[in-house]
Amino acid sequence: MTKHTQSLADNERWLGRVMIAPAIVYIVALVGFPFFLALFYSVSNITVGSTETSFIGLENFRHLLHNRTFLRALRNTFVFAFVSQALVLVLAKTLALSLLKDFRGKWVVRLLILLPWVAPISLGSIGWLWILDSVYSVINWTGRALGIFGPATWPIWLGQPTLAMASIITVHVWRLLPLATVILLGGLTSIPQDIHDAAAVDGAGFWRHNFQITIPLVLPIMLVAMLFGVVFAFTDMIVIYVLTRGGPYDTTQVLASLAFFTGIDGGDLAAGAAIALFLFPVLAVSAILMLRLARRTEVT
Protein backbone atom coordinates (compact mmCIF):
# COMPACT_ATOMS: atom_id res chain seq x y z
CA MET A 1 0.00 0.00 0.00
CA THR A 2 1.17 3.50 -0.79
CA LYS A 3 1.56 5.98 1.95
CA HIS A 4 -1.42 7.97 0.69
CA THR A 5 -3.99 5.16 0.83
CA GLN A 6 -2.52 4.04 4.10
CA SER A 7 -3.31 7.41 5.60
CA LEU A 8 -6.78 7.50 4.08
CA ALA A 9 -7.52 4.11 5.61
CA ASP A 10 -6.63 5.58 8.98
CA ASN A 11 -7.81 9.14 8.67
CA GLU A 12 -11.21 8.86 10.28
CA ARG A 13 -12.59 12.15 9.08
CA TRP A 14 -11.82 11.53 5.45
CA LEU A 15 -12.65 7.86 5.60
CA GLY A 16 -16.04 8.75 7.08
CA ARG A 17 -16.74 11.18 4.28
CA VAL A 18 -15.60 8.87 1.51
CA MET A 19 -17.66 5.99 2.86
CA ILE A 20 -20.86 7.96 3.07
CA ALA A 21 -20.43 9.84 -0.21
CA PRO A 22 -21.96 7.23 -2.60
CA ALA A 23 -25.16 7.03 -0.55
CA ILE A 24 -25.48 10.81 -0.45
CA VAL A 25 -24.80 11.17 -4.17
CA TYR A 26 -27.46 8.56 -4.94
CA ILE A 27 -30.05 10.18 -2.70
CA VAL A 28 -29.36 13.68 -4.01
CA ALA A 29 -29.56 12.49 -7.63
CA LEU A 30 -32.69 10.35 -7.29
CA VAL A 31 -34.64 11.96 -4.46
CA GLY A 32 -33.39 15.55 -4.18
CA PHE A 33 -33.15 16.35 -7.88
CA PRO A 34 -36.56 14.88 -8.83
CA PHE A 35 -38.09 16.64 -5.87
CA PHE A 36 -36.95 20.01 -7.20
CA LEU A 37 -38.07 18.94 -10.64
CA ALA A 38 -41.51 18.29 -9.16
CA LEU A 39 -41.53 21.82 -7.71
CA PHE A 40 -40.57 23.19 -11.11
CA TYR A 41 -43.19 21.12 -12.99
CA SER A 42 -45.93 22.33 -10.72
CA VAL A 43 -45.38 25.92 -11.86
CA SER A 44 -45.01 25.00 -15.53
CA ASN A 45 -47.23 23.68 -18.30
CA ILE A 46 -45.28 20.52 -19.08
CA THR A 47 -47.02 17.48 -20.59
CA VAL A 48 -45.77 14.01 -21.50
CA GLY A 49 -45.09 14.92 -25.14
CA SER A 50 -44.06 18.55 -24.73
CA THR A 51 -40.70 19.70 -25.99
CA GLU A 52 -40.97 23.30 -24.84
CA THR A 53 -42.09 24.15 -21.36
CA SER A 54 -42.88 27.57 -20.02
CA PHE A 55 -43.32 29.04 -16.60
CA ILE A 56 -46.94 29.74 -15.73
CA GLY A 57 -46.67 30.59 -12.05
CA LEU A 58 -49.30 29.32 -9.67
CA GLU A 59 -51.81 28.72 -12.45
CA ASN A 60 -51.92 24.95 -11.85
CA PHE A 61 -52.66 25.40 -8.18
CA ARG A 62 -55.34 27.99 -8.90
CA HIS A 63 -57.01 25.58 -11.29
CA LEU A 64 -56.88 22.80 -8.74
CA LEU A 65 -58.55 24.83 -6.04
CA HIS A 66 -61.52 25.28 -8.36
CA ASN A 67 -61.62 21.65 -9.36
CA ARG A 68 -64.28 19.67 -7.52
CA THR A 69 -62.61 16.32 -8.07
CA PHE A 70 -59.43 17.68 -6.53
CA LEU A 71 -61.20 19.11 -3.49
CA ARG A 72 -63.01 15.84 -3.03
CA ALA A 73 -59.70 13.94 -3.24
CA LEU A 74 -58.12 16.31 -0.74
CA ARG A 75 -60.91 15.68 1.74
CA ASN A 76 -60.86 11.93 1.13
CA THR A 77 -57.12 11.82 1.74
CA PHE A 78 -57.58 13.28 5.20
CA VAL A 79 -60.56 11.12 6.10
CA PHE A 80 -58.81 8.03 4.82
CA ALA A 81 -55.52 8.72 6.61
CA PHE A 82 -56.93 9.77 9.98
CA VAL A 83 -59.63 7.16 10.30
CA SER A 84 -57.29 4.35 9.30
CA GLN A 85 -54.51 5.58 11.60
CA ALA A 86 -56.83 5.90 14.59
CA LEU A 87 -58.04 2.34 14.04
CA VAL A 88 -54.53 1.03 13.48
CA LEU A 89 -53.24 2.54 16.71
CA VAL A 90 -56.02 1.19 18.90
CA LEU A 91 -55.93 -2.25 17.30
CA ALA A 92 -52.13 -2.44 17.28
CA LYS A 93 -51.98 -1.63 20.98
CA THR A 94 -54.51 -4.36 21.77
CA LEU A 95 -52.76 -6.89 19.58
CA ALA A 96 -49.28 -6.03 20.85
CA LEU A 97 -50.40 -6.46 24.46
CA SER A 98 -51.81 -9.90 23.78
CA LEU A 99 -48.66 -10.91 21.92
CA LEU A 100 -46.44 -9.81 24.78
CA LYS A 101 -46.67 -13.04 26.74
CA ASP A 102 -44.82 -16.09 25.56
CA PHE A 103 -46.85 -19.05 24.48
CA ARG A 104 -46.42 -22.11 22.34
CA GLY A 105 -46.77 -21.58 18.62
CA LYS A 106 -46.12 -17.86 18.92
CA TRP A 107 -44.02 -17.79 15.78
CA VAL A 108 -46.88 -19.18 13.68
CA VAL A 109 -49.20 -16.54 15.11
CA ARG A 110 -46.67 -13.86 14.31
CA LEU A 111 -46.18 -15.18 10.79
CA LEU A 112 -49.91 -15.07 10.13
CA ILE A 113 -50.27 -11.60 11.58
CA LEU A 114 -47.33 -10.27 9.56
CA LEU A 115 -48.61 -11.67 6.26
CA PRO A 116 -50.57 -8.58 5.17
CA TRP A 117 -47.53 -6.37 5.68
CA VAL A 118 -44.96 -8.54 3.94
CA ALA A 119 -47.02 -9.70 0.99
CA PRO A 120 -46.98 -7.19 -1.87
CA ILE A 121 -49.97 -4.96 -1.20
CA SER A 122 -51.05 -4.94 -4.83
CA LEU A 123 -51.52 -8.71 -4.59
CA GLY A 124 -53.18 -8.58 -1.19
CA SER A 125 -55.60 -6.00 -2.55
CA ILE A 126 -56.57 -8.43 -5.32
CA GLY A 127 -57.43 -10.97 -2.65
CA TRP A 128 -59.76 -8.34 -1.21
CA LEU A 129 -61.16 -7.56 -4.65
CA TRP A 130 -62.40 -11.14 -4.77
CA ILE A 131 -63.65 -11.12 -1.18
CA LEU A 132 -65.58 -7.89 -1.90
CA ASP A 133 -66.83 -8.99 -5.34
CA SER A 134 -70.26 -7.63 -6.25
CA VAL A 135 -71.73 -11.07 -7.03
CA TYR A 136 -69.59 -13.68 -5.29
CA SER A 137 -68.56 -11.82 -2.14
CA VAL A 138 -67.93 -14.36 0.60
CA ILE A 139 -68.89 -11.74 3.17
CA ASN A 140 -72.34 -11.38 1.64
CA TRP A 141 -72.75 -15.13 1.34
CA THR A 142 -71.82 -15.62 4.99
CA GLY A 143 -74.01 -12.75 6.11
CA ARG A 144 -76.98 -14.23 4.36
CA ALA A 145 -76.29 -17.77 5.54
CA LEU A 146 -76.10 -16.57 9.14
CA GLY A 147 -79.22 -14.47 8.74
CA ILE A 148 -77.40 -11.18 9.42
CA PHE A 149 -78.31 -9.89 5.96
CA GLY A 150 -82.01 -10.05 5.09
CA PRO A 151 -83.15 -11.24 1.67
CA ALA A 152 -83.17 -7.64 0.41
CA THR A 153 -79.70 -6.80 1.71
CA TRP A 154 -76.83 -7.31 -0.68
CA PRO A 155 -74.16 -4.67 -0.13
CA ILE A 156 -72.07 -3.83 -3.20
CA TRP A 157 -68.91 -3.16 -1.22
CA LEU A 158 -66.93 -1.35 -3.87
CA GLY A 159 -69.84 0.17 -5.74
CA GLN A 160 -71.58 2.30 -3.09
CA PRO A 161 -69.71 5.45 -2.00
CA THR A 162 -69.80 4.98 1.78
CA LEU A 163 -69.16 1.26 1.62
CA ALA A 164 -66.34 1.78 -0.86
CA MET A 165 -64.60 4.21 1.49
CA ALA A 166 -65.14 1.83 4.40
CA SER A 167 -63.71 -1.05 2.36
CA ILE A 168 -60.64 0.94 1.39
CA ILE A 169 -60.07 1.95 5.01
CA THR A 170 -60.47 -1.67 6.15
CA VAL A 171 -57.93 -2.94 3.62
CA HIS A 172 -55.53 -0.20 4.67
CA VAL A 173 -55.89 -1.02 8.35
CA TRP A 174 -55.36 -4.67 7.44
CA ARG A 175 -52.16 -3.79 5.71
CA LEU A 176 -50.65 -1.35 8.23
CA LEU A 177 -51.65 -3.11 11.43
CA PRO A 178 -48.75 -5.60 11.42
CA LEU A 179 -46.06 -2.90 11.15
CA ALA A 180 -47.55 -0.81 13.95
CA THR A 181 -47.97 -3.92 16.11
CA VAL A 182 -44.41 -5.06 15.63
CA ILE A 183 -43.00 -1.60 16.37
CA LEU A 184 -45.17 -1.26 19.49
CA LEU A 185 -44.25 -4.74 20.62
CA GLY A 186 -40.60 -3.69 20.44
CA GLY A 187 -41.43 -0.74 22.68
CA LEU A 188 -43.45 -2.81 25.14
CA THR A 189 -40.79 -5.47 25.57
CA SER A 190 -38.23 -2.80 26.40
CA ILE A 191 -40.15 -1.74 29.54
CA PRO A 192 -38.46 -3.43 32.50
CA GLN A 193 -40.67 -5.93 34.33
CA ASP A 194 -39.86 -4.21 37.68
CA ILE A 195 -41.97 -1.24 36.71
CA HIS A 196 -45.00 -3.42 36.01
CA ASP A 197 -44.45 -5.31 39.26
CA ALA A 198 -44.14 -2.13 41.27
CA ALA A 199 -47.36 -0.80 39.78
CA ALA A 200 -49.15 -4.06 40.57
CA VAL A 201 -47.90 -3.93 44.16
CA ASP A 202 -49.14 -0.36 44.47
CA GLY A 203 -52.55 -1.58 43.35
CA ALA A 204 -52.82 0.03 39.92
CA GLY A 205 -55.76 -1.37 37.98
CA PHE A 206 -55.93 -2.11 34.27
CA TRP A 207 -56.79 1.41 33.06
CA ARG A 208 -54.54 3.21 35.45
CA HIS A 209 -51.67 0.88 34.64
CA ASN A 210 -52.29 1.47 30.96
CA PHE A 211 -52.64 5.23 30.97
CA GLN A 212 -50.10 6.13 33.62
CA ILE A 213 -47.39 3.60 32.97
CA THR A 214 -47.49 1.67 29.73
CA ILE A 215 -48.65 4.36 27.33
CA PRO A 216 -46.32 7.15 28.54
CA LEU A 217 -43.36 4.77 28.34
CA VAL A 218 -44.07 3.57 24.82
CA LEU A 219 -45.18 6.98 23.61
CA PRO A 220 -42.03 7.87 21.64
CA ILE A 221 -42.08 4.58 19.81
CA MET A 222 -45.82 4.80 19.34
CA LEU A 223 -45.29 8.16 17.66
CA VAL A 224 -42.75 6.62 15.32
CA ALA A 225 -45.29 3.98 14.37
CA MET A 226 -47.92 6.64 13.88
CA LEU A 227 -45.76 8.90 11.73
CA PHE A 228 -44.93 6.01 9.47
CA GLY A 229 -48.56 5.07 9.29
CA VAL A 230 -49.63 8.63 8.45
CA VAL A 231 -47.06 8.90 5.69
CA PHE A 232 -48.06 5.53 4.24
CA ALA A 233 -51.74 6.31 4.44
CA PHE A 234 -51.36 9.75 2.91
CA THR A 235 -49.24 8.71 0.00
CA ASP A 236 -50.56 5.28 -0.90
CA MET A 237 -52.47 4.78 -4.11
CA ILE A 238 -52.09 1.04 -4.61
CA VAL A 239 -55.13 -0.11 -2.63
CA ILE A 240 -57.32 2.44 -4.39
CA TYR A 241 -55.84 1.74 -7.81
CA VAL A 242 -56.58 -1.97 -7.50
CA LEU A 243 -59.94 -1.85 -5.72
CA THR A 244 -61.87 1.16 -7.02
CA ARG A 245 -59.70 3.29 -9.34
CA GLY A 246 -61.04 6.19 -7.30
CA GLY A 247 -64.66 5.34 -8.09
CA PRO A 248 -67.61 5.29 -7.75
CA TYR A 249 -67.77 8.90 -9.05
CA ASP A 250 -64.44 9.85 -7.46
CA THR A 251 -65.78 9.18 -3.98
CA THR A 252 -62.65 7.24 -3.04
CA GLN A 253 -60.22 9.32 -5.08
CA VAL A 254 -57.23 10.51 -3.03
CA LEU A 255 -54.42 12.89 -3.95
CA ALA A 256 -51.98 10.12 -4.81
CA SER A 257 -54.32 8.29 -7.16
CA LEU A 258 -55.55 11.52 -8.72
CA ALA A 259 -51.93 12.57 -9.34
CA PHE A 260 -51.35 9.30 -11.12
CA PHE A 261 -54.46 9.41 -13.26
CA THR A 262 -53.87 13.07 -14.18
CA GLY A 263 -50.12 13.00 -14.63
CA ILE A 264 -49.41 9.59 -16.15
CA ASP A 265 -52.68 8.28 -17.61
CA GLY A 266 -53.80 11.78 -18.61
CA GLY A 267 -50.33 12.96 -19.61
CA ASP A 268 -50.63 16.31 -17.82
CA LEU A 269 -47.39 16.15 -15.87
CA ALA A 270 -47.68 19.71 -14.56
CA ALA A 271 -51.12 19.24 -13.01
CA GLY A 272 -50.09 15.81 -11.67
CA ALA A 273 -47.02 17.28 -10.00
CA ALA A 274 -49.09 20.10 -8.51
CA ILE A 275 -51.57 17.59 -7.04
CA ALA A 276 -48.80 15.46 -5.57
CA LEU A 277 -47.19 18.51 -4.00
CA PHE A 278 -50.24 19.05 -1.84
CA LEU A 279 -48.97 16.04 0.08
CA PHE A 280 -45.83 17.91 0.96
CA PRO A 281 -47.07 19.94 3.97
CA VAL A 282 -48.13 16.73 5.67
CA LEU A 283 -44.77 15.16 5.04
CA ALA A 284 -42.95 18.23 6.25
CA VAL A 285 -44.91 18.22 9.50
CA SER A 286 -44.19 14.50 9.94
CA ALA A 287 -40.51 15.13 9.33
CA ILE A 288 -40.37 17.93 11.90
CA LEU A 289 -42.13 15.77 14.48
CA MET A 290 -39.72 12.96 13.76
CA LEU A 291 -36.73 15.27 14.26
CA ARG A 292 -38.11 16.58 17.54
CA LEU A 293 -38.64 13.04 18.69
CA ALA A 294 -35.12 12.09 17.75
CA ARG A 295 -33.77 15.06 19.68
CA ARG A 296 -35.81 14.17 22.74
CA THR A 297 -34.59 10.60 22.84
CA GLU A 298 -31.07 11.91 22.33
CA VAL A 299 -31.27 13.89 25.57
CA THR A 300 -32.42 11.01 27.76
Partner: protein, 284 residues
Protein backbone atom coordinates in the same frame (compact mmCIF):
# COMPACT_ATOMS: atom_id res chain seq x y z
CA UNK B 1 -60.14 -15.55 47.10
CA UNK B 2 -59.77 -19.30 46.99
CA UNK B 3 -57.16 -21.04 44.94
CA UNK B 4 -59.81 -22.29 42.55
CA UNK B 5 -61.01 -18.79 41.86
CA UNK B 6 -57.51 -17.61 41.09
CA UNK B 7 -57.17 -20.43 38.66
CA UNK B 8 -60.52 -19.67 37.09
CA UNK B 9 -59.51 -16.03 36.72
CA UNK B 10 -56.17 -16.97 35.15
CA UNK B 11 -57.97 -19.26 32.72
CA UNK B 12 -60.44 -16.53 31.94
CA UNK B 13 -57.66 -14.07 31.13
CA UNK B 14 -55.97 -16.69 29.02
CA UNK B 15 -59.19 -17.43 27.17
CA UNK B 16 -59.81 -13.72 26.57
CA UNK B 17 -56.31 -13.29 25.23
CA UNK B 18 -56.80 -16.31 23.01
CA UNK B 19 -60.06 -14.89 21.70
CA UNK B 20 -58.41 -11.56 20.83
CA UNK B 21 -55.57 -13.30 19.05
CA UNK B 22 -57.94 -15.57 17.13
CA UNK B 23 -59.93 -12.57 15.91
CA UNK B 24 -56.78 -10.79 14.74
CA UNK B 25 -55.43 -13.88 13.03
CA UNK B 26 -58.72 -14.35 11.21
CA UNK B 27 -58.61 -10.74 10.02
CA UNK B 28 -54.97 -10.85 8.95
CA UNK B 29 -54.84 -14.26 7.34
CA UNK B 30 -58.32 -14.70 5.88
CA UNK B 31 -57.52 -13.14 2.48
CA UNK B 32 -54.62 -15.57 2.08
CA UNK B 33 -56.71 -18.52 3.17
CA UNK B 34 -59.28 -17.39 0.64
CA UNK B 35 -56.66 -17.22 -2.12
CA UNK B 36 -55.63 -20.77 -1.29
CA UNK B 37 -59.24 -21.99 -1.35
CA UNK B 38 -59.97 -20.28 -4.65
CA UNK B 39 -56.87 -21.30 -6.58
CA UNK B 40 -57.82 -24.99 -6.63
CA UNK B 41 -61.52 -24.60 -7.25
CA UNK B 42 -63.28 -25.32 -10.55
CA UNK B 43 -64.62 -22.11 -12.12
CA UNK B 44 -68.12 -23.60 -12.32
CA UNK B 45 -67.91 -24.28 -8.60
CA UNK B 46 -66.74 -20.71 -7.88
CA UNK B 47 -69.41 -19.13 -10.03
CA UNK B 48 -72.41 -20.93 -8.62
CA UNK B 49 -74.05 -18.63 -6.08
CA UNK B 50 -75.89 -21.56 -4.50
CA UNK B 51 -72.67 -23.33 -3.57
CA UNK B 52 -71.33 -22.85 -0.08
CA UNK B 53 -68.05 -21.00 -0.85
CA UNK B 54 -66.27 -22.57 2.11
CA UNK B 55 -66.58 -26.07 0.64
CA UNK B 56 -65.42 -27.86 -2.49
CA UNK B 57 -68.39 -29.11 -4.49
CA UNK B 58 -66.23 -30.51 -7.24
CA UNK B 59 -62.84 -32.11 -7.16
CA UNK B 60 -59.97 -29.65 -6.60
CA UNK B 61 -58.21 -28.79 -9.83
CA UNK B 62 -54.72 -27.73 -10.80
CA UNK B 63 -55.99 -26.18 -14.02
CA UNK B 64 -55.78 -22.56 -12.75
CA UNK B 65 -52.19 -23.02 -11.67
CA UNK B 66 -51.35 -24.65 -15.02
CA UNK B 67 -52.90 -21.71 -16.90
CA UNK B 68 -50.98 -19.31 -14.68
CA UNK B 69 -47.61 -20.89 -15.32
CA UNK B 70 -47.95 -21.89 -18.95
CA UNK B 71 -50.49 -19.57 -20.55
CA UNK B 72 -49.58 -16.28 -18.89
CA UNK B 73 -46.38 -14.31 -18.39
CA UNK B 74 -46.36 -15.08 -14.67
CA UNK B 75 -43.02 -16.93 -14.70
CA UNK B 76 -41.48 -14.11 -16.69
CA UNK B 77 -42.72 -11.61 -14.10
CA UNK B 78 -41.30 -13.66 -11.26
CA UNK B 79 -38.00 -13.79 -13.10
CA UNK B 80 -38.07 -10.03 -13.75
CA UNK B 81 -38.68 -9.41 -10.06
CA UNK B 82 -35.78 -11.65 -9.09
CA UNK B 83 -33.49 -9.95 -11.63
CA UNK B 84 -34.33 -6.42 -10.46
CA UNK B 85 -34.22 -7.57 -6.84
CA UNK B 86 -30.75 -9.04 -7.20
CA UNK B 87 -29.25 -5.92 -8.77
CA UNK B 88 -30.97 -3.56 -6.34
CA UNK B 89 -29.70 -5.61 -3.39
CA UNK B 90 -26.21 -5.38 -4.82
CA UNK B 91 -26.32 -1.60 -5.30
CA UNK B 92 -27.89 -1.14 -1.87
CA UNK B 93 -25.24 -3.19 -0.08
CA UNK B 94 -22.36 -1.45 -1.85
CA UNK B 95 -23.61 1.99 -0.84
CA UNK B 96 -25.42 1.40 2.45
CA UNK B 97 -22.81 -0.72 4.26
CA UNK B 98 -20.04 1.91 4.17
CA UNK B 99 -22.57 4.68 4.79
CA UNK B 100 -24.02 2.88 7.80
CA UNK B 101 -20.58 2.28 9.29
CA UNK B 102 -19.52 5.82 8.65
CA UNK B 103 -22.60 7.15 10.48
CA UNK B 104 -22.19 4.73 13.35
CA UNK B 105 -18.52 5.38 14.01
CA UNK B 106 -16.76 8.01 11.99
CA UNK B 107 -18.82 11.13 11.57
CA UNK B 108 -19.75 11.98 15.16
CA UNK B 109 -22.34 14.68 15.86
CA UNK B 110 -22.67 15.83 12.24
CA UNK B 111 -23.18 12.21 11.32
CA UNK B 112 -26.08 11.91 13.68
CA UNK B 113 -27.89 14.75 11.97
CA UNK B 114 -26.90 13.43 8.58
CA UNK B 115 -28.26 10.01 9.56
CA UNK B 116 -31.62 11.47 10.48
CA UNK B 117 -31.57 13.50 7.28
CA UNK B 118 -30.96 10.38 5.21
CA UNK B 119 -33.70 8.55 7.04
CA UNK B 120 -36.14 11.39 6.41
CA UNK B 121 -35.68 11.07 2.66
CA UNK B 122 -37.37 7.71 3.08
CA UNK B 123 -40.47 9.71 3.92
CA UNK B 124 -40.47 11.46 0.53
CA UNK B 125 -42.86 9.11 -1.21
CA UNK B 126 -42.91 7.79 -4.78
CA UNK B 127 -46.15 9.70 -5.14
CA UNK B 128 -44.27 13.01 -5.28
CA UNK B 129 -41.34 11.68 -7.29
CA UNK B 130 -42.85 9.43 -9.93
CA UNK B 131 -43.90 12.24 -12.27
CA UNK B 132 -40.50 13.95 -12.54
CA UNK B 133 -38.75 10.59 -12.52
CA UNK B 134 -40.84 9.40 -15.46
CA UNK B 135 -39.40 12.30 -17.46
CA UNK B 136 -35.87 11.54 -16.22
CA UNK B 137 -36.24 7.88 -17.19
CA UNK B 138 -37.49 8.72 -20.65
CA UNK B 139 -34.68 11.19 -21.27
CA UNK B 140 -32.21 8.48 -20.25
CA UNK B 141 -33.90 6.18 -22.79
CA UNK B 142 -34.76 3.68 -20.08
CA UNK B 143 -38.52 3.53 -20.42
CA UNK B 144 -39.84 -0.01 -20.70
CA UNK B 145 -36.52 -1.33 -19.46
CA UNK B 146 -36.03 -3.23 -16.22
CA UNK B 147 -32.93 -1.08 -15.69
CA UNK B 148 -35.18 1.90 -15.00
CA UNK B 149 -36.32 0.05 -11.88
CA UNK B 150 -32.78 -1.03 -11.03
CA UNK B 151 -31.78 2.62 -11.15
CA UNK B 152 -34.68 4.06 -9.16
CA UNK B 153 -35.40 1.45 -6.47
CA UNK B 154 -32.18 2.10 -4.53
CA UNK B 155 -33.45 5.64 -3.95
CA UNK B 156 -35.72 4.20 -1.26
CA UNK B 157 -33.77 1.10 -0.25
CA UNK B 158 -30.51 2.99 0.46
CA UNK B 159 -31.93 5.43 3.05
CA UNK B 160 -33.72 2.72 4.94
CA UNK B 161 -30.92 0.18 4.84
CA UNK B 162 -28.31 2.78 5.80
CA UNK B 163 -30.38 3.50 8.88
CA UNK B 164 -30.79 -0.19 9.70
CA UNK B 165 -27.10 -0.96 9.23
CA UNK B 166 -26.13 2.03 11.35
CA UNK B 167 -28.22 0.46 14.09
CA UNK B 168 -26.48 -2.90 13.69
CA UNK B 169 -22.99 -1.38 13.69
CA UNK B 170 -23.72 0.69 16.78
CA UNK B 171 -24.38 -2.43 18.83
CA UNK B 172 -20.95 -3.89 18.10
CA UNK B 173 -18.62 -2.89 20.98
CA UNK B 174 -16.02 -0.33 20.00
CA UNK B 175 -13.30 -2.21 21.92
CA UNK B 176 -13.23 -4.93 19.30
CA UNK B 177 -12.12 -2.54 16.57
CA UNK B 178 -9.76 -0.74 18.87
CA UNK B 179 -8.09 -4.02 19.75
CA UNK B 180 -7.76 -4.83 16.04
CA UNK B 181 -6.26 -1.41 15.39
CA UNK B 182 -3.73 -1.88 18.17
CA UNK B 183 -2.83 -5.15 16.47
CA UNK B 184 -1.83 -3.15 13.41
CA UNK B 185 -5.00 -3.00 11.31
CA UNK B 186 -5.96 0.33 9.82
CA UNK B 187 -9.45 1.67 10.60
CA UNK B 188 -10.61 0.43 7.19
CA UNK B 189 -8.91 -2.91 7.78
CA UNK B 190 -10.57 -3.28 11.17
CA UNK B 191 -13.93 -2.58 9.57
CA UNK B 192 -13.44 -5.05 6.72
CA UNK B 193 -11.77 -7.86 8.62
CA UNK B 194 -13.28 -7.61 12.08
CA UNK B 195 -16.59 -5.76 11.99
CA UNK B 196 -17.95 -7.13 8.71
CA UNK B 197 -17.68 -10.83 9.65
CA UNK B 198 -19.59 -10.02 12.86
CA UNK B 199 -22.33 -8.29 10.90
CA UNK B 200 -23.34 -11.11 8.56
CA UNK B 201 -26.74 -11.48 10.22
CA UNK B 202 -27.40 -7.74 9.90
CA UNK B 203 -26.42 -7.82 6.24
CA UNK B 204 -28.73 -10.79 5.63
CA UNK B 205 -31.57 -8.86 7.25
CA UNK B 206 -30.88 -5.95 4.91
CA UNK B 207 -30.88 -8.29 1.90
CA UNK B 208 -34.25 -9.78 2.82
CA UNK B 209 -35.65 -6.39 3.61
CA UNK B 210 -34.47 -4.84 0.35
CA UNK B 211 -35.88 -7.74 -1.59
CA UNK B 212 -39.30 -7.39 0.02
CA UNK B 213 -39.30 -3.66 -0.71
CA UNK B 214 -38.53 -4.38 -4.37
CA UNK B 215 -41.28 -6.96 -4.53
CA UNK B 216 -43.83 -4.62 -2.99
CA UNK B 217 -43.06 -1.58 -5.14
CA UNK B 218 -45.89 -0.74 -7.48
CA UNK B 219 -46.04 2.92 -8.48
CA UNK B 220 -42.70 3.19 -10.30
CA UNK B 221 -43.22 -0.16 -12.00
CA UNK B 222 -46.62 0.94 -13.24
CA UNK B 223 -45.27 4.29 -14.42
CA UNK B 224 -42.04 3.31 -16.18
CA UNK B 225 -43.02 0.00 -17.76
CA UNK B 226 -45.75 -0.55 -20.32
CA UNK B 227 -44.61 -3.75 -22.08
CA UNK B 228 -46.34 -6.67 -20.38
CA UNK B 229 -43.32 -8.95 -20.68
CA UNK B 230 -41.24 -6.56 -18.53
CA UNK B 231 -43.57 -6.17 -15.58
CA UNK B 232 -42.56 -7.21 -12.12
CA UNK B 233 -44.93 -9.54 -10.35
CA UNK B 234 -46.63 -6.89 -8.20
CA UNK B 235 -47.51 -4.83 -11.29
CA UNK B 236 -48.11 -7.63 -13.78
CA UNK B 237 -50.73 -9.52 -11.81
CA UNK B 238 -53.11 -6.62 -11.06
CA UNK B 239 -52.77 -4.87 -14.42
CA UNK B 240 -52.45 -7.69 -16.90
CA UNK B 241 -54.41 -10.51 -15.34
CA UNK B 242 -57.29 -8.17 -14.56
CA UNK B 243 -58.34 -6.86 -17.95
CA UNK B 244 -61.80 -6.07 -19.14
CA UNK B 245 -64.70 -7.78 -17.50
CA UNK B 246 -63.31 -11.29 -17.36
CA UNK B 247 -61.59 -12.14 -14.12
CA UNK B 248 -59.82 -15.50 -13.97
CA UNK B 249 -60.23 -15.68 -10.24
CA UNK B 250 -58.61 -19.09 -9.83
CA UNK B 251 -55.41 -18.13 -11.61
CA UNK B 252 -55.45 -14.67 -10.11
CA UNK B 253 -55.64 -15.95 -6.55
CA UNK B 254 -52.96 -18.54 -7.32
CA UNK B 255 -50.70 -15.76 -8.62
CA UNK B 256 -51.17 -13.73 -5.44
CA UNK B 257 -50.72 -16.64 -3.08
CA UNK B 258 -47.62 -18.09 -4.73
CA UNK B 259 -45.84 -14.75 -4.83
CA UNK B 260 -46.79 -13.67 -1.29
CA UNK B 261 -46.36 -16.54 1.09
CA UNK B 262 -42.74 -17.69 0.55
CA UNK B 263 -41.38 -14.16 0.98
CA UNK B 264 -43.48 -13.75 4.13
CA UNK B 265 -41.99 -16.86 5.68
CA UNK B 266 -38.47 -15.72 4.87
CA UNK B 267 -39.16 -12.27 6.27
CA UNK B 268 -40.56 -13.71 9.46
CA UNK B 269 -37.24 -15.39 10.21
CA UNK B 270 -35.54 -12.00 10.25
CA UNK B 271 -38.16 -9.74 11.71
CA UNK B 272 -36.65 -9.64 15.23
CA UNK B 273 -33.32 -8.39 13.92
CA UNK B 274 -35.14 -5.93 11.73
CA UNK B 275 -36.97 -4.45 14.71
CA UNK B 276 -33.82 -4.47 16.80
CA UNK B 277 -31.88 -2.53 14.17
CA UNK B 278 -34.76 -0.18 13.61
CA UNK B 279 -35.22 0.77 17.24
CA UNK B 280 -31.52 0.92 18.11
CA UNK B 281 -31.16 3.40 15.27
CA UNK B 282 -34.00 5.42 16.73
CA UNK B 283 -32.90 5.35 20.36
CA UNK B 284 -29.11 5.09 20.55
Amino acid sequence: MSKGMYKAKAWGAKGGNFGILAAFIAFAAFPFYWMLMTMFKETRDLMNPNHNPYLYHMRPTLEHVRVLFFDTLYLQWLWNTAFVGFLVVLITLITAIPAGYSLARLTGKTGERLGIGIFLTYLVPPTILFIPLSKVISSLGLQDSLYSLVLVYPSFTIPFCTWLLMGFFKVIPKDIEEAAMIDGHSRLGAFLKVVMPMSIAGVLTVIIFTFTLVMQEFVYGLTFITASSRFTVSVGVPTFLVRGDVYFWGSLMGACFIASVPIAILYNLFVDRFIAGFTVGAIK
